[in-house]
Amino acid sequence: MLLDRALRSGVVALGLTLAATASHAASSDSTPVKGGRLDLVVQPEPPGLMIGIITNGPSLMVGGSIYEGLLRYTTDLKPEPSLAKSWEISKDGLTYTFHLQPDVKFSDGKPMTAEDVVFTMDKFLTTTKPKWREVMRHVASVTAPDDNTVVFKMKEPYGPFIRSLSYNVAPIVPEHIYKGTDFLKNPANDRPVGTGPFMLKEWKKGSYIELDRNPYYWKKGHPYLDQVVYHVIPDAASRATAFQTGTVKVLPGGSVENFDIPRLAKGKGVCLSEKGWEYNAPLSFMWLNNREKPLSNPKVRQAIMYALNRKLMLKVLWNGYGKVASGPITSTIPFFDKVDPQYSYNPKKAKELLKEAGYDGKPLRLLPLPYGETWQRWAEVVKQNLKAVGMPVEIESTDVAGWNQKTSQWDYDIAFTYLYENGDPAIGVARNYISSQIQKGNPFNNVEGYSNPKVDKLFSDAAVAADPKDRQKLYTEVQKTLQADVPVAWLLELSFPTLYDCNIHNLIETANGVGNSLGDTWIAK
């Protein structure tokens, strides 16, 4: 305000002085302070913290401070050093060489070497993690020429590989604890041992999880915090109260109902950030059961896209946080391209398309996501939108287990979902549209039953094209085809804002947010 007036009156010198003062303040503000305790919410309570085995959201958020990957990713998805200090990729894209940080130790004091990395990649994660099995299909060998070097030889160039080495896909686990044991039943799963900045001190089930700093942490001077406490508070309104009364200083994205966010964000000294979801890039959409009439007709599916008022959904249900989806790839993910056709709200066109398709007014079943109020209301908006173009809808509510059962058994007409895209279209997007992923009994594949040989070929070529430019061409083509066919109804690119006390700095440093940043976090006095 002051600066504005000064500039308008032409006193440029004053403006410059003010700017200089501001930058000075910022620099003194950015000297990290050691010590302190950070109180966060974790919702729901994680079933376990051994993230090499259990990979749900809450486990990853807490476990990300205990385990690390070879790399981590900036908020624009560029790889940066974590346990790997540097790396080289051969010109043909077939050899990846990683040089590890020197003198890394696990939280039990034992050294971490290239052998641990090989064991993790080759033995451990291939047994426990479906996501990693998929990556390893493209890898010929993992070797450790010396204690500080790991070499991956690929069967073919595989672009997504460089974005698959984060803590949530490939956390490095200690060979000395797991070698020769039944990984899933190892008692150490209760007392996780990793290389991360913090280690588990106490877990009072149903109350809180307490982490203390890892005294052996490799990064000099880090972490700044002494202690991190995750509070388990099962009721959404009580979580909001905990933040208001100051018991909890951070509400990670998704901790409170959406309609509470604007109110809480207005609080004194409260900061809001939408960052930290770039890797997951959650995209919400509705599966349209392509197997049965009338949704087997692409015209009916296009009509649904035109019938949905997605701008209104964004504004009313999500308070404007997020973005209207423009296709199968989220706009923060590499190789996204905004191509036609785009579907804006046009009920008239929707009615015409339904008429052309000869839709007979048969009522459809709609399965909402059982994730709280916002999703329930969302289903009601969709019901109204579709009713307005002459498509009657019945909402069938169920709990989480029931939802998984119904979708994975294809027992629905229209079903809400949202999925993470995991840093690359080959990892998080292809699985929803290629024919080989039509498998009953699994809620994370081509549940809608869309099958198009052209799309299958484009996705499989794009995954292994060596040159990013070639990959881009193929992905642009696949986006055009999918957007014309509408296998599913894309809704919104979701945003889960994080609310926190403004005295907390460096809370979100990576594309994985609070789960992968606390080693850098500090609290101003």
Binding site: D39, D190, K205, S207, Q227, V400, G402, N404, P443, F444
Partner: protein
């Protein structure tokens, strides 16, 4: 007495067995299974992953094999293992039991004590304004939804007045010990115990009042009055002792119910009790934990019924004769 006890104990074991089998069948009829839920939360799965989980949970066995394995383990006192929580079910339940017992015993004592006292007062002042006031207040607490009362109590006493902690069993990672910790837990106990207690209190008020008035009209009370006994002695020795039986019945039922946990109160106040353990196990289809909680809480309900029956015999010797 001994024969009575033995007979009841045999019955209790049989009922418990029937409940266990019934619960097992009901839970397995619910849609979805723990493997699907875990895969669902991971946001990622392949057939190998699901098969691996189902083998680990023993879900690949035929239904009757699973049922037999479970029942035979329970009979030997083994509640099984929670693969979701990576812990024996008995450990999980024992971790949560103290919080539940503290909350329910406090709420129970509060509701019974205040409820009977208010009921006696209301009956003694039948038709006067204090009677109407007590009835109105009791009805208000009874009719208000429990979760709403809890939220309002938090808003008033924690957010506005900042007198009491809003949620939790104790301060997280506080490092408190001994008396300081006990005091901390007591402070956290006030709101949940009062909210829960006031709800149950209402029924005791109404039952005590009605029962007192009924007994007041009986002949032996007239006789006592005719003898010239003081009204307070009549109320205490003659009326209350006879009027208390229905209250004991109700209290026995409530006691069992309370030990099974109070899901709503535990959820709103983030109280780490059995009720939440059960609710979360239900949502994640953590069969062993859910069944374990059912077995323990039904055993406790049966036990409290037995205690109630014994109490009857002490309070009213006439029951022994029949």
């Amino acid at each position: 007495m001994l024969r009575f006890l033995l007979g009841r104990l045999v019955k209790i074991v049989l009922i418990l067995l029937a409940i266990t089998v019934l619960n097992f069948c009901l839970i397995h009829m619910a849609p979805g299974d723990p493997a699907l839920v875990m895969a669902g939360e991971a946001g990622d799965a392949d057939p190998k992953f699901l098969a691996q989980l189902r083998t680990q949970f023993g879900l690949d066995q035929p239904f009757y094999v699973q049922l037999w394995a479970y029942v035979s383990h329970v009979l030997m006192g083994d509640l099984g293992y929670s693969y979701r929580q990576q812990m024996p079910v008995s450990t999980l339940i024992l971790q949560r039991l103290p919080a539940t017992l503290i909350l329910s015993i406090t709420a129970f004592a509060l509701s019974l004590g205040l409820g009977v006292l208010a009921g006696v007062v209301a009956a003694a002042r039948q038709g006067r304004w204090s009677d109407s006031l007590i009835s109105a207040v009791a009805l208000l607490f009874y009719a208000t939804p429990l979760f709403w009362m809890a939220l309002m109590a938090v808003l008033l006493f924690s957010v506005q007045l900042d007198w009491l902690p809003a949620f939790g069993y104790e301060q997280a990672a506080s490092g408190l010990h001994g008396l300081a910790r006990a005091f901390d837990i007591a402070r956290h106990l006030v709101l949940p115990a009062t909210t829960l207690g006031l709800f149950f209190m209402a029924t005791y008020v109404r039952i005590t009042r009605a029962s007192m008035l009924e007994v007041n009209r009986l002949d032996f009370v007239k006789t006592a009055r005719a003898k010239g006994l003081k009204p307070s002695v009549i109320q205490r020795r003659h009326v209350l002792r006879n009027a208390i039986l229905p209250v004991v019945t109700l209290a026995g039922l409530h006691a069992g119910q309370l030990v099974g946990g109070a899901v709503l109160i535990e959820t709103v106040f983030a109280w780490p009790g059995i009720g939440r353990l059960m609710f979360e196990a239900l949502q994640s289809r953590d069969y062993n934990t859910l069944l374990g909680v059912f077995v323990v809480s039904s055993a406790l309900v049966l036990l409290f019924n037995l205690i109630t029956d014994i109490l009857y015999r002490i309070v009213d010797p006439r029951i022994r004769a029949s």
